[in-house]
């Protein structure tokens, strides 16, 4: 396996490659079509390059463990606000998640509904393209419109446009207090109604999830200064009082554990196949889920209903086709866009279905054109995104 220690070594390895490369960070997120190629791991390119707490910016090499970054930030009372998911629980993988992997897969967690995704916090990238050139875009300042925004393009491109060598982020302060308001016994439209009321209120909810099943409940997270949190919890209780019984989770430990479990989709860890579906909350909960009927037995809703994690044990290939067809159906998904992506599935399944949502012709043509320009030899994780 190739394991470059520096950006220059990385560029040499890519430039000298004579065939496909399988590029990865810590290897904890085997998402997409299985890639056949020489292994290129980034975990030896590790370390925080620059961290300015007073400017809310951090620069790190792509192979830096996420845990190391989170620890450094915690030391200054700050955090990655987009709350990147750790895929090891759901996918049953081992290894060390890297910050480059977070960027490559644009991984965000429950707080995405309030503050934005990984791509919204990403300020700059350095990467090596398919020709072995070292390139940079963006920088380490919060406001930057100098030239085209390739930073966003690289986020979520799964190593198919370039191999990330360095990333810079905007970080945010960790609030002093957190509470979770639990609304018990709600399902379907009532659950949607509760999350919608909360997220469209001025009371700044930083997480809005719904766990159906035997003990169905809606979870609403409130963070900030202690006085403000207490005030907003009261206002939200009043706002939702007619929908069901409400309790409040107070302790920092319980809150951390609860939202980590939601972030990492622990509820579906025993399912053989798991999809990640993005639509508007309304389309998701009044269109897609009713249409799926019994096939929506194992779900976790996040982002106020805009993100659905759906699990299945059998019939995954067939269900996959149905999910992607429903997302593309304007009668179900009036707002357009969105996707159903297979996140967990064995290699045979991932090799046999379009893992990522198929795109309309003009978009597919642009994507193909970009891939040709960034990687003319087609050697970077070829086929991973279909």
């Amino acid at each position: 396996m190739m394991k470059p220690k520096t950006e220059a070594e990385l560029a040499d390895m890519v430039g000298a490659a004579s065939g496909p490369l399988h590029v990865f960070g810590g290897g904890t997120r085997p998402i997409g079509h299985p890639v056949t190629g020489a292994a290129l791991g980034l975990s030896d390119m590790s370390g925080i390059v620059d961290y300015e707490p007073g400017a809310l910016t951090l620069v790190a090499k792509a192979g830096t463990p996420v845990a190391g970054i989170e620890a450094a930030l915690a030391g200054e009372g700050q955090r990655l606000a987009f709350e990147p998911m750790d895929h090891r629980v759901l996918l049953g993988t081992s290894g060390t998640p890297t910050i480059g992997g977070v960027v490559a897969a644009n991984v965000s967690g429950p707080r995405r509904v309030a503050v934005g995704a990984a791509r919204d916090f990403l300020l700059g990238v350095r990467f090596v393209d398919g020709r072995g050139r070292v390139l940079k875009n963006g920088g380490r300042v919060m406001k930057n419109v100098t030239g085209y925004d390739l930073v966003k393009l690289l986020a979520g491109s799964h190593g198919t446009l370039g191999v990330l060598s360095e990333v810079s982020f905007k970080v945010l302060p960790t609030p002093e207090a957190v509470r979770t308001l639990v609304l018990h016994g709600v399902t379907g439209r009532d659950a949607l109604d509760a999350m919608t009321r909360a997220i469209t209120s001025p009371f700044e909810v930083s997480g809005a999830a719904h766990l159906p099943g035997d003990d169905p409940r809606v979870l609403l997270r409130i963070e900030g200064f202690a006085g403000s949190v207490a005030y907003r919890v009261d206002r939200l209780k009043a706002l939702l009082a007619d929908l069901g019984e409400i309790s409040v989770i107070d302790t920092p430990e319980e809150n951390a554990a609860l939202w980590r479990a939601i972030r990492d989709v622990e509820a579906l860890k025993d399912r053989a196949a798991v999809w990640r579906i993005s639509m508007t909350p309304g389309a998701m909960m009044t269109g897609l889920l009713p249409a799926l009927g019994d096939d929506a037995r194992h779900v976790q809703l996040d982002w106020a209903g805009g993100l659905c994690w759906l699990g299945a044990d059998t019939g995954a290939a067939e269900l996959h086709g149905r999910l992607q067809a429903l997302v593309a159906d304007r009668d179900v998904n009036a707002g357009g866009g969105g996707h159903a992506t297979l996140i967990k599935g064995d290699e045979a399944l991932r090799a046999s279905v379009p893992v990522f949502q198929p795109q309309p012709a003009p978009i597919a043509a642009l994507s193909e054109g970009l891939r040709d320009r960034f990687d003319p030899r087609g050697i970077l994780n070829p086929g991973l995104m279909g």
Partner: protein, 477 residues
């Protein structure tokens, strides 16, 4: 500023072009009379002007598609135009180009509060997007200072920011989807009303591409519930270093204000003479605004003023109500007008790492003496976005060129300390030739390769963003 020589072949096509455009557009939507095309000769960077071949004002996505298909077939360059408020020359025509204005496309197409989005045609002004939803308690967050006039189309093209982006982000963070017409007339739907689309982030790529990848005719925008209230605190300090430290300490204390504005002494004095807002005569002035309920605001302002006091302010004034808030903001909001009273000015837009603020201000002061031109600084201090205003006399021969050279030096300084050429105005023609100071040849090549994919003939918004020399072979192909 060098612009490419107009293509004589294209100039000779005008009669045929006008005829074909008139055939697909309603009466009055093709402006080709030489006196009338002058209305489109420049944007808000008025130092440069050039009337276009003609201007078209389509009213639908289909009409935009027809116009682009015709221009594509005939090999005619197209300059998309929102409201023409660009300070970077983003909508400056060339003599052989068609101006495609979206001003007639300003409808609200859909409002969905439950799913928190609004879909509009992109000729709609920024402020009127908020205007369409504020009665129901919502707003659209990006607030460029030209928001009364500027169009969403231009906001998307330049990825516009504003004073409140420390908390809410800039256009790209609030844009969910677009309908974009490609140069060959193909209509593409990118993104949608949901929180993330599949595949590559083409939406992120299109936002901020300065109208060079396609013409965006419709946009789906995130709308947010209005906060219960907002109040600022004003503080004055005797040194830029101390003010910079206060900003850093506030951020480190875990407060996330919606705005942190900074003004230096030349700017304070100019605005005081003009607006009489009662600002202290000091080296550096900060306005910090927070949001929430009254009690939440008190809690945050309490923390902020505690930090402010530790650094011995010459003045500390906390707003307790709307009138006092308005007085605190009065001087800041009239800063540009005040500087305009003194002289002509050029407004720059570089961004620096916040920690470099004292050094950069000191260097700007030194350069001001070397160039013999005064400069005042207004600054979104929370995010490092500087707006130095260089004063010059447009009637004095050579003064504009001197001012441009000084501006270029300031922007190079921003890059040198780890920042960038432009934080929210865009490159346009204004900073085009400075791109080589921020990017290497390969960094520019990969950006131009993106344009190759979207607009292979390089017909959209010519001569912007990339140095002419760097794009020479691609434009000639």
């Amino acid at each position: 500023m060098e612009m490419p020589a107009p293509n004589p072949r294209v100039l000779s096509l005008k009669p045929r072009l006008v005829e074909r455009l008139q055939a697909v557009l309603p009466a009055g939507a093709v402006i080709h009379d030489e006196a009338e095309t002058r209305a489109y000769e420049c944007d808000a960077l008025t130092a440069y002007a050039c009337p276009p071949l003609c201007a078209v004002l389509p009213a639908t996505t289909q009409e935009v598609s027809d116009v682009l298909r015709i221009c594509h077939e005939m090999g005619v360059p197209v300059v998309p135009r929102g409201a023409g408020t660009s300070l970077a020359g983003g909508a400056l025509p060339t003599a052989d180009s068609v101006i495609l204005g979206v001003a007639r496309m300003n409808a609200v197409l859909e409002t969905d509060y439950d799913n928190r989005f609004i879909r509009v045609q992109t000729g709609r002004t920024n402020l009127s997007v908020t205007g369409a939803v504020e009665a129901d308690g919502f707003f659209y967050a990006p607030d460029p200072s030209s928001q009364l006039a500027c169009a969403i189309a231009g906001n998307i093209a330049m990825n516009s920011g504003g004073a409140h982006c420390l908390k809410y982000g800039v256009t790209t963070n609030n844009l969910l989807g677009v309908t974009m017409v490609m140069m060959d007339g193909t209509v593409a739907e990118i993104g949608g009303a949901c929180m993330d689309a599949g595949g590559y982030d083409l939406l992120g790529l299109v936002c901020g591409s300065e109208g060079q990848l396609g013409v965006v005719t419709e946009a789906t925008l995130r709308i947010l519930p209005k906060p219960e209230g907002a109040r600022p605190v004003l503080m004055g300090y005797d040194s830029n270093e101390v003010a910079g430290q206060v900003v850093s300490d506030i951020i480190k204390a875990g407060v996330l204000p919606v705005a942190i504005e900074f003004m230096d002494r030349p700017c304070i004095r100019a605005t005081e003479a003009f607006a009489k807002a009662g600002y202290p005569d000091c080296e550096a002035l900060l306005i910090v605004e927070v949001e929430g309920s009254d009690a939440e605001i008190d809690e945050q302002l309490g923390l902020i003023t505690q930090i402010a006091r530790r650094h011995n302010p010459v003045e500390l004034r906390e707003s307790t109500g709307p009138e006092e808030s308005a007085r605190i903001w009065l001087g800041r909001k009239s800063a540009f007008g005040a500087m305009g009273q003194i002289n002509d000015y050029m407004c720059l837009d570089g961004t620096i790492p916040v920690s470099q603020l004292p050094y950069v201000l000191r260097r700007i002061g030194e350069m001001s003496k070397e160039y013999g031109l005064d400069v005042g600084n207004v600054f979104h201090a929370g995010d490092g976005n500087m707006h130095p205003l260089i004063l010059f006399d447009a009637n004095k021969p050579g003064d504009l060129e001197l001012c441009e050279a000084f501006g270029a030096d300031i922007l190079r300084l921003c890059v040198e300390v780890g920042g960038c050429l432009t934080g929210e105005h865009g490159v346009g023609i204004e900073k085009r030739d400075l791109m080589v100071d921020q990017f290497g040849p390969d960094d520019l090549d990969i950006q131009m390769a993106v344009k190759d994919v979207f607009d292979p003939k390089w017909l959209l918004n010519p001569a912007k963003v990339f140095p002419l020399q760097a794009s020479q072979t691609r434009r000639a192909a």
